[in-house]
């Protein structure tokens, strides 16, 4: 059975049909790509699956459980981790606090712990710190742990966001344009990072990208979305040569 499946999902913003009869099956460990022109509805699909929006129609199942319309923090705690297209970091928090915060659902010392500072709290906070530090180390930003994110270079911020998403213990990781604004060098590092976490945690990954090189290299399957509708789905080879995709998205000349 598929890890994540979406059936006939439709979403409207007022009159605008942002997503139309969208279907998805994602197997454990699979890396799936989502491409399409600006405004096609890619980010909206992420927001729908992760519960930020509630779909107008359709049904989403994760691990056999229907998650349509559940609250986002709960969906996230089930194992759907994500990053954002526009880097949504918490301006005033340190790197370490970011990653620890993502352990929120794993903490159960309750209000007694929060208000009075029980030994249980001490223990769990220490554990959270440990998990966080190991993730930061893995992404090579452990030396920045005590810095406030606002002052970090962009690349580091991206990594922090990734570490934060991983700290929720996801089974599926949603990456929304993870390489926006990166140099080719950074881009290849990012590919490396994604490969590592994919292997290490056995994650399924669903990612949105405009950098074709990146998509083609990483993804096993790719969906192409245009005006909220999937016009093609297949492996990288098929997509690259699909005339509909070329017409609507890639254009004649292939850059990058």
């Amino acid at each position: 059975m598929a890890l994540l499946s979406v059936k006939e999902m439709t979403h409207r913003f007022g009159g605008l049909v942002a997503v139309n009869s969208y279907n998805l099956t994602l197997e454990p460990g699979q890396i799936m790509g989502l491409i399409g022109p600006n405004g096609a509805g890619k980010t909206t699909i992420f927001n729908l699956i992760t519960g930020i929006y509630c779909p107008t129609e359709g049904k989403i199942t994760f691990n056999g459980q229907e998650i349509t319309g559940l609250r986002p923090h709960y969906i996230a705690s089930l194992g759907l981790g994500r990053t954002f297209q526009d880097l949504r970091l918490w301006r005033h928090m340190t790197v370490l606090e970011h990653v620890k915060m993502a352990r929120y659902s794993k903490i159960d010392y309750g209000f007694t712990g929060a208000f009075l500072g029980t030994p249980k709290r001490k223990k769990q906070e220490a554990q959270a710190t440990e998990v966080a530090m190991s993730l930061l180390e893995m992404l090579g930003v452990d030396s920045l742990a005590d810095q406030v994110v606002l002052n970090l270079p962009y690349g580091a911020q991206r990594r922090v966001e990734m570490a934060r998403a991983l700290a929720t213990d996801p089974k599926v990781l949603f990456l929304d344009e993870p390489t926006v604004g990166m140099t080719p060098e950074e881009l290849s590092q990012m590919i490396q990072i994604i490969r590592t976490v994919h292997q290490k945690f056995g994650l399924a990954i669903f990612l949105i990208e405009h950098r074709l090189k990146f998509v083609m290299e990483l993804c096993q399957r790719i969906q192409t979305l245009v005006f909220g509708q999937v016009i093609a789905e297949g492996n990288p080879e098929e997509i690259q040569n699909n005339p509909k995709v070329i017409e609507a998205y890639l254009g004649e000349e292939k850059l990058d």
Binding site: R71, L89, W90, H92, M93, R103, Y104
Partner: protein, 323 residues
């Protein structure tokens, strides 16, 4: 340093602090009164900082919470332990009173917490400016409600509170309050407030239960505001609804933003600073109200988030021997 000595050292320091304050306040009851009001202001400011600083909402409801606490606390003590025009003779022997006073404070706090739901629930759907208005409306509602409640004296106010909010009591309650608030804001549950403030959607996506976080923040802050209100009522031994209006709001807001957002230190500095200025500049009469605002404007211009913002209160660092 390991754990036990830290606690002992903290307690010792507190005792020292208390002794210092006590000695200072021995000189006159006016100092004593000012000191108690200052401690209460610290508690109040800190509790407002939870919402306005840590959670980043512009809440105008604090006088309302305070009023709820002040009235509930007063009704508790006056009804049970004091002979009074409104409620008649005491229901319980007054000797018991001082021991049950903490219970009264807790009830006062809880009442305010329940009131806070009126703002916490709308805060799920709206934020920022609109929530500011909701909280402002709440404040006016509470004030108007009390004005219409003849049982507690209506606009004429309620007096006759027993004199139990003495310096040790106020000191102890404030210390407990500061300690608990500090515990809370350094825990993950408390840091979640910052996450909700800086980016709510991201917080949600990172498994943070944002609704719970907001409810807890409002209720917890209101609880301490209520406790502060109850103490305030027992220090002045008189309350009236007019006290909990826009003026009070301006006062606490000034303290929070003067001292510094998102900072336990800041609130202490803000409350103590403004309170002391207010008393020390009394001889200036009218011009006090030109000088203090000017000072605050300057602080805002040169330190827009307040004097000591975004600074964690770290007991270890304070108490550790300095090299």
């Amino acid at each position: 340093m390991d754990r036990m000595p830290l606690i002992i050292s903290a307690v010792l320091h507190l005792i020292l602090l208390y002794i210092a304050l006590h000695t200072w306040s021995e000189v006159s009851d006016y100092r004593n009164l000012t000191l108690r009001l200052t401690l209460i202001a610290v508690l109040l400011t800190l509790s407002l900082n939870i919402i306005n600083g840590y959670m980043g909402e512009f809440s105008c409801s604090h006088p309302g919470f305070m009023a709820l606490g002040a009235y509930m606390g007063s009704v508790f003590t006056v009804l049970l332990f004091a002979k009074d025009k409104l409620f008649g003779p005491a229901l319980l022997p007054p000797e018991l009173g001082p021991y049950l006073f903490p219970l009264g404070l807790i009830i006062a706090g809880l009442t305010a917490s329940v009131g806070a739901l009126a703002i916490a629930v709308p805060s799920f759907r709206t934020r920022g400016d609109y929530l500011a208005i909701i909280s402002l409306a709440f404040m006016f509602i509470v004030k108007s409600l009390i004005e219409n409640l003849e049982v507690v004296g209506g606009p004429r106010g309620l007096s006759g509170q027993p004199n139990w909010a003495n310096l040790p009591t106020v000191f102890l309650v404030t210390i407990i309050g500061v300690w608990m608030i500090n515990n809370f804001v350094t825990s993950i549950l408390g840091k979640a407030l910052n996450a909700v403030r800086d980016d709510e959607m991201a917080a949600d996506a990172m498994t943070v239960d944002t609704r719970k976080t907001k409810i807890v923040a409002f209720m917890f802050a209101a609880f301490w505001a209520g406790v502060a209100g109850a103490l305030f009522a027992h220090v002045l031994r008189y309350v009236n609804p007019g006290t909990f209006g826009i003026q009070k709001l301006a006062e606490v807001l000034a303290m929070v933003y003067f001292g510094g957002l998102n900072s336990v230190y800041g609130s202490i500095v803000g409350a103590v600073g403004i309170q002391i200025m207010g008393e020390a500049l009394r001889p200036l009469e009218l011009f006090k109200w030109i000088l203090i605002p000017t000072l605050l404007i300057l602080v805002m211009i040169y330190r827009p988030t307040g004097l000591i913002a975004f600074k964690e209160f770290n007991l270890k660092r304070i108490l550790a021997p300095r090299k």
